[in-house]
């Protein structure tokens, strides 16, 4: 690595990092928040065993898990316009990532809900709570605790997965890196640089996950 490469890397660092904060992080956070809402609703529908809705939930999970994210991105951004539905790049990416993560997290949430002993629901009902009140105050908090590590996993996965949005013209970190690499011909070092930035993001999230787990453990060992 010579001085010229070093200068390019220093110069490009902020150019890559800024879209990290303005694109990659918002894309991740918004998509994941929506994914969690989708996941909880989808998991609750299955847990409550509601006919029809349950079949729809299973169908949704089947479709999403059975097809590549990249293909889903292409269908929404390049495919839908041909049937008259135009969605901008960023909302397209949010939609695909939310639906995609939602399906995976729904399975995480479902298994976490099912891991809460049935007696907790019965005790809630017998204490005069409704099904939803018991769900909200008793079952979901316990399920979230179980689901927290795998959900964190999904979040960390999503940060990296957002690089795929470059394929549908979202100018996030990876696309910016590609452009600089194309201009400077220093592909090797620049891609290593962006890899390092993803690594930093993931490391921060891993650290937050550990902090979160410590906090969630505050009510002692379960059972």
């Amino acid at each position: 690595m010579n001085q010229q490469v070093w200068d390019i890397l220093v110069d490009s660092f902020m150019k890559i990092l800024i879209p990290g904060f303005t694109m990659t992080i918002p894309l991740t956070v918004i998509s994941f928040a929506l994914a969690l809402i989708i996941a909880v609703i989808t998991a609750m529908i299955q847990y409550a065993d509601i006919p029809v809705l349950k079949q729809i939930a299973r169908f949704y999970i089947w479709i999403i898990r059975g097809t590549p994210v990249l293909v889903q991105l292409y269908v929404v951004f390049f495919g839908l316009p041909s049937i008259g539905i135009m969605i901008d790049a960023f909302p397209s990416a949010v939609m695909v990532f939310a639906l995609n993560e939602g399906a995976y997290c729904a399975e995480t949430m479902r298994s976490a809900l099912e891991s809460v002993p049935a007696g907790q629901m019965e005790a809630g009902l017998c204490s005069g709570l409704s099904w939803f009140q018991t769900m909200w105050h008793i079952i979901l908090p316990q399920a979230f605790r179980t689901a927290f590590p795998p959900l964190s996993n999904s979040l960390i996965g999503l940060v990296k997965e957002t690089s795929l949005a470059s394929n549908i013209t979202v100018t996030e970190m990876f696309m910016v890196t590609q452009r600089i690499a194309g201009r400077t011909y220093k592909a090797f070092w620049l891609y290593l640089e962006v890899a390092l930035i993803y690594l930093i993001f993931s490391t921060v999230l891993t650290w937050l996950q550990r902090r979160g787990e410590d906090r969630l453990n505050s009510y002692g060992v379960r059972r």
Binding site: G119, Q120, E122, A123, L125, C126, S127, Q133, Q142, Y219
Partner: protein, 250 residues
């Protein structure tokens, strides 16, 4: 008129008849012990009359209100459960709530009682079961006997018309059974209406005023507890009592 009147409960699990037409009548202040070998349907009976299981047939009159045990709206179920308390064999305390929160959540969330008032009631109830100094403990930090006493406080908190106990001491180590029975004995003395599914013969004999002996989903014999233990009418009852005496070495 009886406070609780149950008529013709039937319940099948797949092809197995668990309840085969049970009638039962409970007066205010009664402490009814339900005895019987395992698989006799005792627990299922208790669960059916609080809608934890849906019976195939059967009706109930409780507090001058009629309930179809085979078919009821969520609304109706909740209305009934707000007038009853239920104590489970394995306590089922809410793991994510402290002892005090376990007792108050049915009041604050379920019945919209202000927090301060609910906490006052909660502390009083925990005091009553001897757990006043454990308000802020989580279930995982309590012994089985302590958890069950908190569960009793939880069932008491809403001042229910009746409390159902489903084998409340069966999951406990022998040395912890006494503290739970003592609380239940106290409740009986205060005139609480209770139905207790139990294997504790001493409780049935000394505390309850009515005993019901079930087998194969039907009531074999029922009567006042004195009559039941002193002069059992049915041969099957006598055999059961002999076996229980041998088991407990009385």
């Amino acid at each position: 008129m009886a406070m609780l009147e149950i008529r013709g409960i039937r319940k099948k699990f797949d092809t197995l008849d668990v309840l085969n037409g049970v009638d039962l009548s409970v007066e205010r202040g009664d402490v009814v012990a339900i005895l019987g070998p395992s698989g006799s349907g005792k627990t299922t009976l208790l669960r059916c009359i609080n809608y934890l299981e849906t019976a195939d047939e059967g009706e109930m009159i409780f507090d001058n209100e009629s309930y179809d045990l085979a078919n009821a709206s969520a609304q109706k179920m909740m209305e009934l459960r707000k007038k009853t308390g239920f104590v489970f064999q394995n306590y089922n305390l809410f793991f994510n709530k402290t002892a005090l929160q376990n007792v108050t959540i049915g009041l604050t969330v379920g019945r919209k009682i202000p927090k301060e008032e609910a906490e006052e009631t909660g502390r009083k109830m925990l005091e009553k079961v001897g757990m006043g100094d454990r308000c802020d403990y989580y279930p995982s930090q309590l012994s089985g006997g302590q958890q069950q006493r908190v569960a009793i406080a939880r069932a008491l908190a809403s001042n229910p018309e009746i409390i159902y106990f489903d084998e409340p001491t069966s999951a406990l180590d022998p040395e912890l059974i006494g503290e739970v029975l003592a609380v239940m004995r106290q409740l009986a003395k205060e005139g609480r209406t209770m139905i207790v599914v139990t294997h504790e013969m001493s409780f049935a004999r000394d505390v309850s005023n009515k005993v019901i002996f079930m087998e194969n989903g039907v009531i074999v014999e029922q009567g006042s507890s004195a009559e039941f233990f002193e002069h059992p009418k049915k041969e099957r009852t006598r055999e059961f009592l002999r076996m229980e005496d041998n088991r407990t070495g009385e």
